[in-house]
């Protein structure tokens, strides 16, 4: 890993682009670490960490950049997607604190849950796999109305055990829908390891049974994700639904209410950093001299200053007005 490389970047990806994504990833990590710390301070009630999943999410967005009509049904570990599509860190902190101005639900739901239609995201609930059949319906509607959009349905290995996961993939295969199922497989459903969730070694092995194409990759490798998702988007656009399995590590416990030392060996936890997508990308940048150490330091200090400002703004923001409690049960 420390040996100097001379990497050939995929076509369309410049050095500047790599640095841009790296700074995004660094910012996502900074936000993630901050909300975790604020949970320990009693300020953020709950946080589901994205650490370890960032390359899978940002690499997907990188591939989707030239397809702005792409639509995302995310799940609760997808902070990098929500940030990557353009939500700013203050809006994110408002959401974590349940403050007025939370763009997803104005403090009605867990952080970053609800919808952000301006940025093509729906994430209604905490029932895993419930969003998968909805994503299929969304893709069906695109196909019926001849919209060119690809719908992406994100889920974890845990959700792959749900009946709705089966029903969603089955229907997508029958109707050849423009959809990509993206399994961010971190090999744990809270505490239950993969071998107690399924008898197979990869979720993507199920794809042929549904008539889906399958791709299985290292989701901690940004460029691998980018290239695979380009292929997946092309397939989905030509009405071949795809299941992409992104193998990642969940660096932190399930949520801020969890303690993963109760079910993961310390030796296993110690090794997680080796598959940390942020460190891997940083190493790639350093090995190829894409940026100087000073530039990297500047990025870090920009991120720290941004999160400090966002935290102050969000902490000073008002709570949602109690007069709104009964609002918007229905729309007009």
């Amino acid at each position: 890993m420390n040996s100097k490389q001379n990497i050939t970047l995929p076509s369309g990806i410049t050095t500047d682009k790599i640095l841009e994504v790296y700074e995004q990833m660094l910012m996502v990590r900074t936000i993630d670490e901050r909300v975790w710390a604020m949970n320990r301070q009693g300020k953020v009630p709950i946080a589901a960490s994205c650490q370890g999943h960032e390359a899978a999410q940002l690499g997907t967005l990188l591939a989707a950049e030239s397809h702005p009509e792409s639509f995302f049904f995310t799940y609760y570990r997808d902070l990098a997607i929500k940030f990557g599509v353009g939500l700013d860190e203050t809006q994110i902190m408002l959401s974590y604190l349940g403050k007025q101005g939370d763009p997803y639900s104005n403090g009605r739901q867990f952080p970053l849950q609800g919808s952000d239609l301006q940025r093509n995201i729906i994430q209604l609930s905490n029932v895993v796999a419930a969003g998968m059949t909805q994503a299929v319906g969304h893709a069906l509607a695109s196909k019926i109305q001849k919209k060119a959009a690809v719908t992406m349905s994100f889920f974890g290995d845990g959700a792959s055990s749900q009946g709705e996961c089966h029903e969603a993939m089955n229907f997508a295969g029958i109707h050849k829908l423009p959809i990509i199922f993206i399994c961010e497989n971190n090999h744990y459903a809270i505490s239950v390891p993969q071998n107690l969730q399924m008898a197979i070694s990869e979720v993507s092995e199920r794809a042929p049974g549904y008539g889906l194409e399958s791709i299985s990759i290292d989701g901690s490798d940004l460029l691998q994700v980018y290239e695979s998702m380009q292929k997946a988007i092309a397939l989905a656009k030509s009405f071949t639904p795809v299941l992409v399995e992104m193998n990642v590590e969940r660096i932190m416990p399930h949520t801020s209410d969890d303690d993963h030392t109760r079910y993961r060996a310390l030796s296993e936890i110690d090794q997680l950093a080796q598959r940390d997508p942020l460190l891997k990308l940083k190493t790639l940048i350093q090995d190829n001299s894409f940026a100087s150490e000073e530039q990297l330091e500047e990025m870090l200090s920009r991120c720290n200053s941004r999160i400090n400002t966002a935290t102050s703004l969000a902490e000073a923001a008002p709570e949602p007005d109690t007069k709104t409690l009964l609002n918007n049960l229905f729309v007009e």
């Binding site: 609800g114 239609l117 419930a130 319906g137 709705e164 029903e167 089955n170 049960l329």
Partner: protein, 327 residues
């Protein structure tokens, strides 16, 4: 004006709305080639094509979830569950997701879908083709619920349901499908959701009901005329929003209230009406609120004798009203 059955009226209305609005689609088990087990969509596949008339796999969770997702993307889906008894796998998407869509996104996202549910018994359907499922939805904020009893009302309410921008549960009593006939104007009209209808006005006792039972209430009221008891019959038509003001106005006049439904007694629509009236209409009452409902067993059994014993009927409704009127 044509005289139609309930199912004919529903079919015609679905047809009209699909003709009018290309965003309306229907989906469910056997609704395409087969035309639906009750023939609600007979001929639709030929007319509207397979992209708008979707024969789904036998999988209720995804029928509801896919319809919900399609409603987020420009369509007005009408998913059908074949029998109410099969709705349970779809409840996650209806109660867990659709009902919370607007609230959970602070009004940014909405779910314009109509979930058609043939329900109820008296047709020898046994435990799994007879169920009354309305209370589960009735308890859920964020859903609207229609339960028409006549072909005329079915058309008017279905039109409102399809144009509504929120999820609507549309309950169709199976036994009324062919049993109940009535005149249905050909012109376009709609009936607002959440407004009850006084099917017969009277001054002595208020009877509130919906669906099949409404017709038994009307029969009982005709028999009670011989006993000089003048019954007012309110057809709820919509269970949610519940039209409490029509009920309260009526008991102001009669002072007595009977609620009749086929659904189980405990925690049913009648319980909520009784609680609301005791809260807001206590001063109008001069007798206890009586509920004539299905007993607290899963639903009506298959055997003829047991099925009949479960169901309220004209005689038990007659007796209940008579008893209360003498209080």
């Amino acid at each position: 004006m044509a005289e139609l059955s309930v199912i004919e009226s529903i079919r015609n209305t679905l047809w009209e709305e699909m003709k009018k609005d290309p965003t309306v689609i229907v989906m469910g088990e056997d609704i395409g080639q087969r035309g639906g087990v009750f023939l609600a969509t007979q001929g639709f596949l030929e007319e509207f094509g397979e992209s708008r008339v979707i024969d789904t796999p036998l999988a209720e969770a995804s029928i509801m979830g896919i319809a919900l997702g399609a409603s987020f993307n420009g369509l007005r889906p009408i998913p059908e569950v074949q029998f109410s008894d099969f709705i349970w796998p779809g409840l996650n998407q209806i109660i867990g997701e659709a009902s919370k869509t607007a609230y959970g996104s602070n009004g940014e996202l909405n779910a314009p879908m109509v979930i058609r549910i043939p329900y109820g018994g008296g047709i020898r359907g046994g435990l799994y083709h007879s169920q009354n499922v309305e209370s589960y939805f009735f308890h859920t904020p964020g859903l609207k619920i229609c339960a028409p009893s006549t072909p005329y009302d079915a058309k008017g309410l279905l039109k409102s349901a399809i144009s509504d921008n929120n999820p609507v549960i549309f309950l169709e009593h199976k036994k009324t499908y062919r049993l109940v006939r009535g005149e249905v104007p050909e012109e376009d009209y709609s009936i607002p959701i959440g407004v009850a209808d006084i099917k017969k006005s009277g001054k002595d006792v208020t009877v509130v009901s919906y669906g099949l039972m409404l017709h038994y209430c009307l029969e009982a009221s005709r028999l009670l005329e011989d006993h000089n008891i003048d019954v007012e019959i309110i057809d709820l038509m919509s269970l949610r929003p519940l039209d409490t003001s029509t009920i309260l106005e009526s008991i102001k006049k009669t002072g007595k209230l009977v609620v009749v439904h086929e659904d189980n007694l405990t925690g049913g629509v009648g319980a909520e009406i009784a609680a609301t009236v005791s809260d807001l209409g206590f001063d109008y009452l001069d007798g206890p609120i009586k509920r004539i409902c299905g007993p607290d067993i899963p639903t009506m059994p298959f055997a003829k004798s047991l099925e009949e014993a479960y169901l309220p009927n004209t005689t038990s409704i007659f007796n209940g009203i008579l008893e209360l009127s003498q209080y």
